[in-house]
């Protein structure tokens, strides 16, 4: 196996920064889209505040459809959108759009699951006290679900790190791109290995942060 530490050190930091940039911007945007969608899914679900069977089923199916789509295909399909919005379809900034849209349905399900865990009794109490739906969501539902939402956010971030690596296959930049361009096309397993280790470290750090934060929130109760 070739080993050129100098070259690795010259490529890795830039690629790692690109991956971090793609991950965090995409996660933020995916949450912006997915959080309201997840709340709406929970509210209209059979056990929710305002069960609406037809609406829930339609949105639920759409979310499943998007989630079962192979991400790499979804990315290619959404490329024209990137071109339209930021006038390029190559590089970290360009893949942020497919990444965010691709991860949004995932976020929606994570949020729905977190909200479904909230004790029904305290929602009943909030309803009996004459809260509006919006007050229940803002003052009871979301605060009660916060530790689960934080765990979900960590899970989402990790999923998106995986997606950014895939985005490398279509010229997205970052660690995945590095592994494919150098490791795969030029047989540089040392660079692939370095990229994989960097991704693993990122995933572990996010996981750790999620666990600590969620645990910290629970300890305050």
């Amino acid at each position: 196996m070739p080993l050129d530490l100098h070259e690795i050190l010259s490529l890795l930091p830039q690629a790692t920064l690109e991956t971090i940039y793609m991950t965090f911007v995409s996660t933020a945007l995916a949450c912006l889209l997915g959080l309201p969608l997840g709340v709406y899914l929970f509210v209209t679900s059979p056990a929710g505040l305002r069960p609406r069977r037809v609406v829930y089923n339609i949105i639920s199916r759409l979310v499943n459809l998007f989630r079962s789509f192979p991400f790499i295909i979804l990315m290619i399909l959404l490329m024209p959108l990137s071109r339209l919005l930021i006038h390029t379809s190559i590089g970290p900034a360009a893949v942020i759009i497919p990444l965010s849209i691709g991860a949004a349905p995932f976020v929606a399900r994570v949020v729905e699951a977190a909200l479904a865990e909230v004790d029904k009794g305290c929602l009943l109490a909030a309803q009996a006290m004459g809260s509006t739906d919006w007050q229940i969501i803002r003052k009871a539902l979301l605060p009660e679900a916060l530790p689960a939402l934080v765990s979900g956010l960590a899970l989402t971030t990790i999923t998106i790190i995986g997606y950014t690596a895939m985005a490398g296959a279509i010229g997205g930049g970052g660690l995945g791109d590095l592994a494919i361009r150098f490791g795969y096309y030029r047989f540089r397993q040392d660079i692939t290995l370095a990229a994989v280790i960097a991704i693993l470290i990122l995933v572990e750090l996010v996981q750790l942060a999620g666990v600590l934060l969620s645990r910290g929130l629970l300890a305050k109760r």
Binding site: A128, M129, K139, P143, R221
Partner: protein, 240 residues
């Protein structure tokens, strides 16, 4: 204070509440008793306007309330407080912030809320627990927080849904005494829903007995206890 007129409610083809008429006098403690499955919970949800009857009418004071919707319905609900078997407090909030919830949704200022919360903590005798997290509180203390929360917005009616069923006998007595004293002090209407005859005996002046969704007996607690007319009342008396 609260009046039901031939109220019925079905769930999935089952007649859960069957033409119940009930007149709950103001400023008293009224008991609703029945075995599990007798329709108590549904009747309660009809009284506190979480559920609309299929037929019949619900009056709060002189006003018909079962036909209300939207904002008006929410405002009527805010005139009623409720406590539960499992307390149903918000675990994301400490004692004081739980009590503050109904005041927040009513749009009071932070200063007004703090003042009112202090009054309420004193009223339920847990002023020292103001900043306590829920898990630092005993069952009895949690129910006191819940009572303070239920009374925060100065309701006319307090519903107690099996409020002492999860508590030990000694704590049950202290909570019942508190409810009794608060009723006298605030002159509110208290409606106690329970399957425990002792609870009715301890604090209620009048009682209604439910069986299979129907009202089988009602009257002053003393007379129902002395001469039960229905088999349901008889059975509940024997179980106690």
């Amino acid at each position: 204070m609260l009046r039901l007129e031939k109220v019925s409610k079905q769930y999935a083809g089952l007649q859960v509440v069957d033409k119940v008429s009930l007149d709950i006098p103001p400023a008293s403690i009224f008991g609703i008793i029945g075995r599990s499955g007798a329709g108590k919970s549904t009747l309660l949800r009809l009284l506190n306007l979480l559920e609309k009857p299929d037929s019949g009418a619900v009056y709060l004071g002189e006003r018909r309330v079962d036909t209300l919707s939207g904002r008006e319905l929410l405002l009527e609900r805010r005139k009623m407080g409720m406590i539960f078997q499992n307390f149903n407090l918000f675990s994301s909030r400490n004692a004081a912030d739980n009590i503050a919830y109904p005041l927040e949704i009513a749009g009071l200022s932070r200063k007004q809320i703090d003042l009112r919360v202090s009054e309420l903590l004193e009223l339920v005798q847990i002023s020292d627990k103001r900043r306590a997290r829920l898990r630092e509180l005993s069952g009895g203390q949690k129910q006191r927080v819940a009572i303070a929360r239920a009374l925060a917005a100065k309701p006319q009616v307090l519903f107690c849904d099996e409020a002492t069923s999860a508590l030990d006998p000694q704590t049950t007595r202290s909570i019942l005494t508190l409810i009794k004293n608060l009723q006298k002090f605030l002159q509110i209407t208290v409606i106690v829903v329970t399957h425990q005859m002792e609870v009715i005996r301890a604090i209620c002046s009048r009682v209604a007995v439910l069986e299979d969704g129907r009202l089988v007996e009602s009257g002053a607690v003393a007379s129902v206890f002395a001469k039960p007319k229905s088999s349901a009342a008889l059975e509940l008396l024997h179980a106690a």
